[in-house]
């Protein structure tokens, strides 16, 4: 489960397919999402796109981008939201649950086994050293994703966005304030400023 690629990295729309989308069944949804999830060492999103758009042709590339954009602005794990929205579009609530169970179930079993192994053998010296090395690298990956996501803001010279970004970074990272308190101030503020700026550009 290496870090998700930033939304800006989603490939643009392909040539739209003329064939009508095929309707997947519940078991098909479960199996498809389980496969994407278990393949998802390089970010589940890439595999989800490949499975849904290229392999099964359940959605066109445009529909996929639209659905992902929606799931990105909602809170919570994006790819989990995507599975629910996607599954329910074809098979209602049962479809949403089937896709969600496929996405989260099998890797959760693996994670639980790893957690049990860690609880039992976590103090072994060799394992400790390996985990220390892996976590150094994992933090580096996270930092790289942060810079990748910042690039569009820097290119657009979005000063307001960068100031908000920095303020959130300081409040959470340095001052260690609770998330809810910070977001209750930051979300309305950022929404208000964005809305106001767009009004000015349009008007």
């Amino acid at each position: 489960m290496v870090l998700e690629s930033p939304p800006a990295a989603i490939p643009g729309p392909d040539i739209p397919t003329a064939t009508p989308p095929i309707q997947p069944g519940l078991l098909e949804l479960f199996v498809a999402f389980a496969k994407m999830s278990l393949a998802g060492f390089g970010g589940v999103l890439v595999w989800a796109r490949r499975g849904i758009v290229d392999q099964h042709r359940w959605m066109t590339a445009d529909e996929f981008n639209e659905t992902f954009a929606l799931c990105h602005f909602l809170p919570g794990p994006n790819i989990v939201n995507l599975s629910v929205v996607f599954g329910s579009r074809f098979r209602g609530i049962a479809g949403g649950i089937a896709a969600f169970a496929g996405l989260v179930g099998p890797p959760m079993v693996i994670a639980t086994i790893l957690a049990a192994l860690y609880a039992r053998y976590g103090e072994i010296d060799a394992l400790r050293r390996i985990l220390t090395g892996v976590s150094c690298a994992a933090v580096g990956l996270l930092i790289a994703v942060v810079f990748k996501m910042m690039m569009p803001l820097i290119k657009k010279r979005d000063a307001v966005g960068l100031v908000i970004l920095l303020a959130v970074f300081v409040a959470i990272g340095l001052l260690r304030l609770p998330l809810q308190a910070v977001l209750l101030v930051a979300i309305p503020l950022s929404l208000g400023i964005t809305y106001f700026m767009r009004q000015r550009v349009n008007g």
Binding site: M1, L3, G40, P75, V80, V85, I110, L165, I172, L183
Partner: protein, 177 residues
Amino acid sequence: MNSQANPISTLVWTFGLMSLFAVGGANSAIPEMHRIAVDVHHWMDEKQFADIFAISQLSPGPNVLIVTLIGYSVAGVAGALAATLAMCGPTAVLAYYVSHLLQRSRHSRWPAIIQAALVPLSIGLMGASGLILALTSDQSWIAGLITAAVAVLAFATRLNPVWMLLAGGALGFAGVI
């Protein structure tokens, strides 16, 4: 929340609430998970938190599974299940309703505005995650150097991240770090 409370209900309450505030996905919520697991409830120490993050990156599946590992360390298999469902459930229900709502008003410009407003917030949160995890993981200058090298490699190349994780593990095993 007092420490005598049933650990399962504490997990459900904590992650259920966090789910609705995790703007930009699970990685943005890492500072909050760290604050709650290490500072508030003392479920684990700094080192264990860094280990859990490393394990979560090594296993397949969505990033959100770090909560499975936290849940397991608090209350075993039941804790793992409770934490995962609590972190995914509320936002999944929200996503279901919002997507049905938006199907009817597809050309509204609000989704674009909301997204533009939330992107800087989620990047700031992920930056804070990076800082907090770097402070716990990088206990020596060579560890910091490896983090920096991976950050540059992952930023500038399309190398599969799994190789960098494995290289980090190998260096750790060799006793370099």
